[in-house]
Amino acid sequence: MGALKLSSIEKTYPNGHRAVRGVSLEIEPGEFLVLVGPSGCGKSTILRTIAGLEQLTGGEIHIAEERVDERLPAKRDIAMVFQNYALYPHMSVYKNMAYGLKNRGVSKEEINSKVTEAAKMLQLTDYLERKPSQLSGGQRQRVAMGRAMVRSPKLFLFDEPLSNLDARLRAEMRLEIKQLQRKLKTTSVFVTHDQVEAMTLADRLVVLNQGEIQQVGTPKEVYHQPANIFVATFLGAPAMNLFEARVTSANEMTLNDGQTIQLPAEMANRVEPGRNVTVGIRPEHLALTQNGQRPLLNFETGLSEELGTSQLLHGKIAGTDCTLNLPHFDQHSEDQLGVVFEPKHLHLFDVETGKRIDHG
């Protein structure tokens, strides 16, 4: 019983560009799914094919068990919130919200009650007679939300709806969208390139790259068990540190410059000696040695950045660029520092495929 089901959908543009390469997904009713990826990864294209604004070149789309990919956009029972709001500039806020209902032959009284209710929920009651040009960015965004809400569709589609807002308003609207979605329980697909939005909004996250799904999972899963190097470096700022290494014994790896790292206990004996691997560790999982602690790795100190809540210390480990995210700010004048970490925070990836080498 999926609310939305994509069955190996394909989109190839007439110029030969394959924007979406066989993407399959199933979304549960009421779920908030976020599609995230760098620009050009096909996330917007997927959303637009669900909306019917782009034609599929392969595969099928089902909404609530009904095939919709051959229907007109207006006949798919979906509503979409656009990046630049896409309000009708010549219509008042009320008419903007009523337009979709009116075209579906809903009675005047029902339109009125639905629009009034939505306006109340979005604090737009005082602005119903205004034109979009007389509203602020946040208010326009709310009108766009209201226009989607009043139709009570089976599916909400959000195409980077917060990227035109300034940072403070974005955080505010992010929370508002989440609360609203929880209240309405409408299945939603949200597209963004902003990983903070992706992590905070999603029930489930879909990470995309070059038209293919890299990983699907809860934000926690995706962050802590990235399926491959792409996911590992895409999510998290600053990005995960990666080092080339060679497994030298049952429980040890050697970096380029001869420094050795213990394999995590559960990985011991699982990776055959002689194999080349990429080792990843997040900047916040690295710490400096304190009062005589034995360093696990040597760190060549570079520049530091003060973030207020923490400090980013850039430098090199074994000749590879590396960043530390330290909890408090200290001046470091030493050329070399000792670094420690817990082995369980190490991620291992296959050098050739980039895939995670899992515990199992």
């Binding site: 909306a51 019917g52 956009p73 896409a86 040009s133």
Partner: protein
């Protein structure tokens, strides 16, 4: 707002800057207009040897002349039809051309290049096409059973003038409408596609209102065109024939002033025409523009 004003150290400088423009307006517009107003109260002999003040006699004569009143009515009907038909056709063409995916620029060029033809040339071309002796269309229309004869039939002559005038004006309207259509944000059209399944309804509720500013601008331009710029077409095609039935106000000014050498009467007509266009433009800006959102 106050900061937007540029302050010049010397108060004369701004006047010097606009002086060339003012000079042109004064020489080519204000001076002839005053001259026309002055002459409209005069009776002058055809050789310009003497003139005599006659008060409103020229105007009285005009508004008692059936011929003048006819050309007044003809001008209004003619202009309304030319403006309406050329705007309507251009809008349809622009909407269709905008929806074309392949070779869109080819369509655009094909529809636009009529613009490069001078009105007089358009008139002469049409003259050949609809000519009684050599015209292709003349034979074709008559073979269909329509006794088409613009030299004798006022309706046929008017239809011919309207056809050529509309044809000549479509490119301008087309280019502006197409630009207007492409100015409508893609996302707005997509939002409408999600809100309304009926394409025609979407056109009238979203596209058309958003094109209104362009449409209004074109309406002003088209009425001015139909009043003044169709002179060349009339002069090459019908010269007001048959029997003055295709004489517009502008053509009559020319006929009475330059062919009839009655400068006083012709000047009076110019003054009336000026007032008419002035009031038309005023009405357009006052009442139609107010209904345009944006």
């Amino acid at each position: 707002m106050a900061n937007k004003r540029v302050q010049f150290s010397h108060p004369i400088i701004p006047y010097l800057f606009i002086a060339p423009q003012m000079l042109i307006i004064a020489i080519f517009f204000i001076w002839p207009a005053l001259q026309a107003a002055y002459l409209s109260f005069m009776l002058e002999d055809p050789w310009g040897m003497s003139r005599e003040f006659v008060g409103l006699e020229n105007y009285q004569y005009l508004f008692n002349s059936a011929e003048y009143l006819y050309s007044f009515g003809f001008s209004i009907v003619f202009s309304a039809l030319v403006a309406f038909l050329s705007l309507g056709t251009a809008l349809i063409l622009a909407v269709k051309a905008n929806a074309v995916l392949h070779m869109q620029s080819t369509y655009r060029v094909l529809i636009t290049w009529v613009y490069a033809i001078a009105p007089a040339v358009a008139g002469i071309t049409a003259y050949f096409i609809f000519n009684r002796h050599i015209g292709v269309m003349y034979d074709f229309l008559n073979s269909l059973g329509w006794q088409f004869n613009p030299e004798a039939d006022a309706v046929d002559a008017s239809a011919l003038l309207i056809l050529v005038s509309v044809w000549k004006q479509i490119p301008v309207n087309f280019v502006f409408f197409l630009a207007g259509l492409q100015g409508i944000p893609k996302a707005v059209r997509e939002a409408a596609a999600l809100d309304c399944a009926n394409e025609r309804r979407r056109f009238w509720t979203i596209t058309f209102p958003l094109l209104a500013p362009t449409g209004f601008f074109l309406l002003v331009i088209n009425i001015t065109y139909a009043f003044f710029d169709t002179f060349g077409i009339i002069d090459t095609l019908t010269q007001g024939t048959p029997g003055g039935r295709t004489t517009t106000l502008v053509y009559k000014v020319y006929q009475d002033g330059f062919l009839g050498a009655d400068l006083g009467l012709s000047s009076a007509q110019s003054v009336v025409l000026m007032l008419l266009v002035l009031s038309l433009t005023f009405v357009q800006f006052r009442f139609i523009e107010r209904k345009i959102h944006y």
